[in-house]
Symmetry: C3
Amino acid sequence: MYHVLSAHQFDRIQLDQLFRMADIMEYNAKNGGTNLLQGKIMAALFFEPSTRTRFSFESAMMRLSGSVISTENATQFSSAIKGETLEDSIRVISSYADVIVLRHNEEGAAKRAAQVAGVPVINAGDGSGEHPTQSLLDLYTIQKELGAIDGLKVAMVGDLTYGRTVHSLSYMLAKYEKVTVYFVSPENCPIPEKVKAYLDERGVTYFEETDLEKVSGEVDVLYMTRIQKERFPSGEEYLKAAGKYVINQEIVDGMKPNAIILHPLPRAGEILPEVDGDARAAYFRQATNGVYIRMALLAYCLKEQQLERDLEALAEVLK
Amino acid sequence: MYHVLSAHQFDRIQLDQLFRMADIMEYNAKNGGTNLLQGKIMAALFFEPSTRTRFSFESAMMRLSGSVISTENATQFSSAIKGETLEDSIRVISSYADVIVLRHNEEGAAKRAAQVAGVPVINAGDGSGEHPTQSLLDLYTIQKELGAIDGLKVAMVGDLTYGRTVHSLSYMLAKYEKVTVYFVSPENCPIPEKVKAYLDERGVTYFEETDLEKVSGEVDVLYMTRIQKERFPSGEEYLKAAGKYVINQEIVDGMKPNAIILHPLPRAGEILPEVDGDARAAYFRQATNGVYIRMALLAYCLKEQQLERDLEALAEVLK
Amino acid sequence: MYHVLSAHQFDRIQLDQLFRMADIMEYNAKNGGTNLLQGKIMAALFFEPSTRTRFSFESAMMRLSGSVISTENATQFSSAIKGETLEDSIRVISSYADVIVLRHNEEGAAKRAAQVAGVPVINAGDGSGEHPTQSLLDLYTIQKELGAIDGLKVAMVGDLTYGRTVHSLSYMLAKYEKVTVYFVSPENCPIPEKVKAYLDERGVTYFEETDLEKVSGEVDVLYMTRIQKERFPSGEEYLKAAGKYVINQEIVDGMKPNAIILHPLPRAGEILPEVDGDARAAYFRQATNGVYIRMALLAYCLKEQQLERDLEALAEVLK
């Protein structure tokens, strides 16, 4: 059975295949859809609310003509007791659905689920763990917008210490050739040592910087994230740091003509709305790509499962 | 792109067309449905819960073979931050869905959403603003039940100062010929001056009254609404006022044989259950009509959008 | 119109028919599904959350190609008032959906709903009243696993005073021949007199026991339920009682080779996970059977309703 638990599970060849599938999914979605998953059911099992991610997965499933059962309140999975194990819930839902999309607050939850599930599990974020479909759509957007990832200069900006997305993106970029990474953050929330060690091992060039404008004109990709207020000792210091990393039209005007600005969204002031109309503002296209990537993953998991079942049935007949 | 933001956007000819479409939708719904919107996705984006309105829209979309992604908890649209702008949420959902049904607590929210949406927006109520599909289903029910709206006598009863539905219905009735309106309310919650000024300008005859039984025998339509307790200085005065406007079988017996009683529902004692079996009690039929009106609006918005996209694609080819 | 309000409404012949239908539904579900209810809408109207039961019904409806409108928050059915009557809500939803699945906290709610509904109502649990689909899936599982119900020895274990499922199962077993029932409970929560009186009347042999291990080796079916902490005067006494009724591998090893262990789930420690892999652990298969039983019931209700409507239409034409 094929689960999507971590972005790391994909090697370069698989990424290329996935992105080609996503291209085809976009074509399907824009041309009347496809019946690929007709009759299949996806369970969206969210232990914490994330309507954006849930909608993206549900939209993907419906574009494939599949059906959806859904909760953002999975902690109340049973009215009878609190504290049914995740394992029991997953086992039961395996008989209701053909694929489970799991969002959980605990790191490692997706892996635990996959160990007992009777159907494929897709990790839609497990606490401080992984959120592989976000990483994959980020990477897919870069490739789609710029034609290739090899050789690109990528800046990641904001709170880099706790930002799950920038860590994942760093790891994924290391699978490509001659990428240069610029980590731009306030001094109190730098990129962690483990990420740098990972890049060192793989020979990825990177720089650390606190001044956004020193790099914004150099890079092909400007990946913005939120500065989180609670990291700063005082509101004053927060404002000073946050104010340094605000993308306005002036900064965009200084960027390369073919560069792109990405953001995992929601934004909270890091990118001014005045920039939205610029062709380099790619963050809403990025959100759209999420649907195509998720369509590709759902299709892959379920078709692979169908094949397994068919083979089992065949083996049974031949026995 | 065609949005449904206000009942005012429909002129008399468009209303007639819409009501004919709703008739056809009823036929479709009762005869095995239609595949008109197969492959299309509706997002029900509710910033405040209103299961009744949500169910009505979702049922309408499903009767057209469309799919639905849905939340009544859109304030939690993102788990990451509070206060993403409505505009950003709408932009992102535009890539998940083909039409957005928006319920919001702030007046003007639907219009703001329409300005940035990549897909049609239907206003499902924005605070003290508009709730156009309610007005349209009210008007449709009157026409369907009584054959025509011109020349009718319509009483509106209850708290007329804050009742959004009765204001909208008043404005809509002004589009018809020789309608007479009776405003029946306690003295402390009369119909506002602005509504009366509007009717004056358009030459609509109206009367103000506090005694329901003086008009109930005269009118073709008795439109009941709730009296809201918090408007009254004391519980005693509330009960006195509320008690004056309770439809019982005796009052119904004194009504014209072909008159109808409407109510936007839910009711809270203004109409006794003993009346439900009377042929003049049209409020549950009114709720049913809501599905047909919403089917007609969804079909219109999405077919118009399809046409636009096809024309764009054609223009692209011809370029 | 055919409602599913109580497990009692089914006689032995109807149960056999239902179980045959459930077998066919399983075949359908595993072989690409069926379009039996295409174009039909099920409303899941839950006045208290029970994601497990809701998912099971929604999955069943979708396996039949039907659509679903759904809320676990039906107490907020209207944002306008608290306390709309259940009857009014049901009347309105009858115009949105083709079948209503109702979960309510008040005993008798399903029956009240059925009296005013314009469409079939299926009781998904009404307070301390009935939860007929649970009883039916329990019974179906026994028959499916063991081939027949006549002549079986069935133990029910746990809090038998308040356990709705064990009461219902007792009543249902009385419809079969030569069943022997063992009630195993702590002394302070025995099976109620009314259940015993019912079995006495119908000549069903039963025994009361406090020691699980005295019966576990004898029976064909071990039906486990939760011991509820709040029934015990002290935490210490609870632990003593609860600890007596924990199924571990040692107990399972002492059971008949073809016996089965059932549990309505969720479990809270009554069955250790070490037992899950044993072929006699049938509780997850039991949950799966719930989907097939609900498919059969939905199909039956809606096909019966279609037939009624067709006959009415025919009568209209012939008039």
